[in-house]
């Protein structure tokens, strides 16, 4: 995160567009990897639970502050993606986008170090001066409604919450899948009379479909972490998402792809990636649907 942010600042100082895109790409990749990284925290939480010398209050505080940091990391990732997207439209990404990446990135680094600080105290209670230091970072930085317990209880006491999240998750699926399908179909040789530029304009809709599903998906996960962390279907689903994300990053990065005008065909390597992209998203749907059947999610 600090590397990506550093590259981005360096690029601004040196006024280098290539370097700036590099920084944005690193920030986008980290935002994607942050999702499963946050999730591994629940496995860790399970293994330290009940261990002597572990203060549950500190563990919970670490979870809340890490979630807060992740929310800002994901927002930084979306802003970084927009920066990359703008650079493809041969327009310099606006000052507003640069400002958003800078602001969100700086807040994320602050929140991450605060979360890391609390995390360090979990196994090293000796550095905690007094137990009263815990509430010091609470409030704004780690609000109580970000606690897993709070989210779980909310889901149980409001049955409509889960249904609404699922419905939005399915709507996001359709939007994302539609964009993935038509964009990659063009790369594979369908709709050849259209320049790729037009499909480029559709991409933000796919990204917002993904954001909708990342938000609703994280809320399922946080509320019911223990039906996912050891669920093989879930591991496969995350793997497919990460690989598809790597595909997206590569295709975004690749100049040759976006130069495709009407009636031009994509190079074979790009076609392979386009086909793999469609297969990977069908894989995401497959393992998502199999969560209750290969594992025991509901």
């Amino acid at each position: 995160m600090i590397v990506g942010f550093g590259v981005f600042i360096l690029a601004l100082l040196k006024k280098s567009d290539d370097l700036k895109r590099g920084g944005l790409a690193v920030l986008f990749a980290i935002a994607l990897v942050s999702l499963p990284t946050y999730m591994t925290g629940y496995s860790a939480q399970k293994s330290v639970k009940g261990m002597p010398g572990i203060a549950q209050g500190v563990v919970d505080l670490h979870q809340r502050s890490a979630l807060m940091a992740m929310i800002f990391m994901e927002a930084t990732g979306v802003a970084a993606w927009y920066g990359l997207w703008h650079s493809r439209r041969r327009m310099r990404s606006g000052a507003a986008n640069t400002a958003a990446v800078l602001l969100l990135g700086a807040i994320t680094i602050g929140l991450m170090s605060s979360a890391a600080n609390v995390g360090g105290e979990i196994r090293h209670p000796e550095i905690l001066a007094t137990p009263e230091t815990i509430p010091a970072t609470e409030g704004l930085l780690a609000p109580h409604w970000l606690a897993s317990d709070f989210i779980t209880k909310y889901q149980y006491s409001h049955p409509w919450a889960w249904k609404t999240l699922e419905t939005i998750h399915f709507m996001g699926l359709c939007l994302l899948f539609g964009v993935v399908l038509v964009g990659n179909m063009r790369l594979l040789g369908w709709m050849r009379n259209a320049p790729l530029e037009g499909f480029h304009r559709l991409l933000p809709w796919g990204v917002w479909g993904f954001v909708a599903n990342a938000v609703t998906g994280m809320l399922f996960f946080i509320g019911q972490a223990f039906q996912y962390i050891e669920n093989p279907a879930f591991h496969w689903k995350m793997l497919c998402i990460l690989l598809a994300g790597a595909d997206v990053l590569y295709l975004t990065w690749h100049d040759e792809v976006w130069e495709l005008r009407a009636n031009q065909t994509a190079p074979p390597m790009v076609k392979i990636l386009a086909a793999s992209q469609i297969v990977l998203w069908i894989g995401v749907i497959y393992f998502g649907r199999m969560l209750p059947y290969l594992g025991d999610a509901f």
Binding site: L173, C174, N193, P195, F199
Partner: protein
């Protein structure tokens, strides 16, 4: 109703409902239904977005090729949806969400056919007329309604105490 009971007791219905196989059982058909949903509602959204002005560089006529895929998705879901219904015909026929979904789906198909006629015609080369734009908006809302009511069928059946 006797006929619903009869459908539910057919060998094909019970074999899906009772199968643990990942290639034939209930889970498999749910997956197929989700992919079909992605093809129909997903492509429906994209066609409507283009008619509303997103991605103007794409000639509207190039989307003609999407409609066969859309109809493949529709028939896949007609089949998978029917099979899923057969596994619990008595339970699913009792919830109003099923009928809401079928009505919205019927309307969505009517609007999609009308949009297709426009896209297939020479008119699609020019500016998008206002009534086509309104239809595109209506179409998006209808697909969202189909997804929502479809999702709610599962919860309504569960609340009624279904076996699956």
């Amino acid at each position: 109703m006797a006929v619903l009971q009869w459908i539910q007791n057919l060998r094909i219905s019970t074999s899906i409902a009772e199968s643990d196989s990942l290639w034939w059982g209930y889970a498999w058909w749910l997956f197929i239904h989700a992919v079909g949903m992605g093809l129909t509602a997903g492509l429906g959204f994209i066609v409507c977005l283009r008619l509303l002005g997103v991605g103007r560089q794409i000639p509207v006529s190039s989307f003609r090729v999407l409609f066969p895929l859309f109809w493949i998705g529709f028939y896949v879901n007609l089949l998978s949806g029917t099979l899923l219904f057969m596994t619990d015909a008595t339970g699913i026929a009792r919830v109003w969400e099923l009928y809401a979904k079928l009505v919205c789906l019927g309307l969505a198909l009517v609007v999609m056919s009308r949009l297709r006629r426009f896209i297939d015609s020479d008119q699609s080369e020019g500016a998008i007329p206002p009534q086509i734009r309104s239809m595109a908006y209506a179409c998006i809302v209808l697909w969202l309604a189909v997804i929502t009511s479809g999702r709610l069928i599962a919860y309504a059946v569960e609340a009624n105490g279904a076996t699956i």
